[in-house]
Amino acid sequence: MAKLKDIMVYVINKYPNKYELSNARLTKIVYLADWKHAITYGTQISSINWYFDNYGPFVWDIKDTARTHQELFFTEDITNMYGSPKTIINLKNCEYVPAISEREMKSLDHVIEATKDLNWTQFIRLIYSTYPIIISEKYVYLDLIEKAKEYLKYSSGRT
């Protein structure tokens, strides 16, 4: 398991479209990486207790971490094209080397590659298409490890 600040630094460093990395998008990228890691290795990368909120998996951990570690990150509060506020998370210290294992890198790289070219609608559709979200009601905590076991059992039974 990696520290959230390290996961964030790794993603921001490697993500090609950095201006897209809002708190919402970065949060959901970490969710996808946790899900990918859960179905591949049976554990999450982060220690986030994921919650299914109004608009999919959401927690404040990413924004809180960015504001706690001001030596690494800085945030910009801007308005999106629809007039809604959004927070962009940027890297302040590009020299910092995040402590991420090979396996964790593999899951994170998979997510970055799979999502870098998706617009917001396509990105959100992918999030909503993941098993924990499809199968769960809103306003519950998502046990990704248990859901991964169910998913693998379910997938292996489908032809």
Partner: protein, 94 residues
């Protein structure tokens, strides 16, 4: 409702007892209506109607209702970019 009868009927279809117990709405009537794309070439969605009363609707009545809806294909095509797809997530490794 005859729960034992319901369970035994579900088990005929291969549903496990654990899964039956998790079903909140014990439906006894199911109806499916396939929606094609506007070209009429492929099915893009299915509407499922369920009722706990097996006599609540007839197949003919529901078919007649859906056939009268002129814009189902157009509306479904319009919203399809937002419809989640389990298969698509699986193809992308999620």
């Amino acid at each position: 409702m005859d729960l034992l009868g319901y369970n035994s009927r579900c088990m005929e279809d291969g549903i496990s007892e654990d899964n039956i117990n998790e079903i909140g709405m014990k439906s006894r009537l199911y109806y499916g209506y396939s929606i094609s794309d506007t070209q009429g070439k492929k099915s893009i969605a299915v509407i499922i109607v369920e009722a706990t009363n097996p006599h609540r609707y007839t197949k003919e009545a529901l078919t007649s209702i859906f056939k009268k809806e002129r814009y189902l294909s157009e509306i479904t095509e319009r919203i399809s970019p937002w419809i989640p797809s389990y298969e698509e997530a699986k193809e992308k490794g999620f």
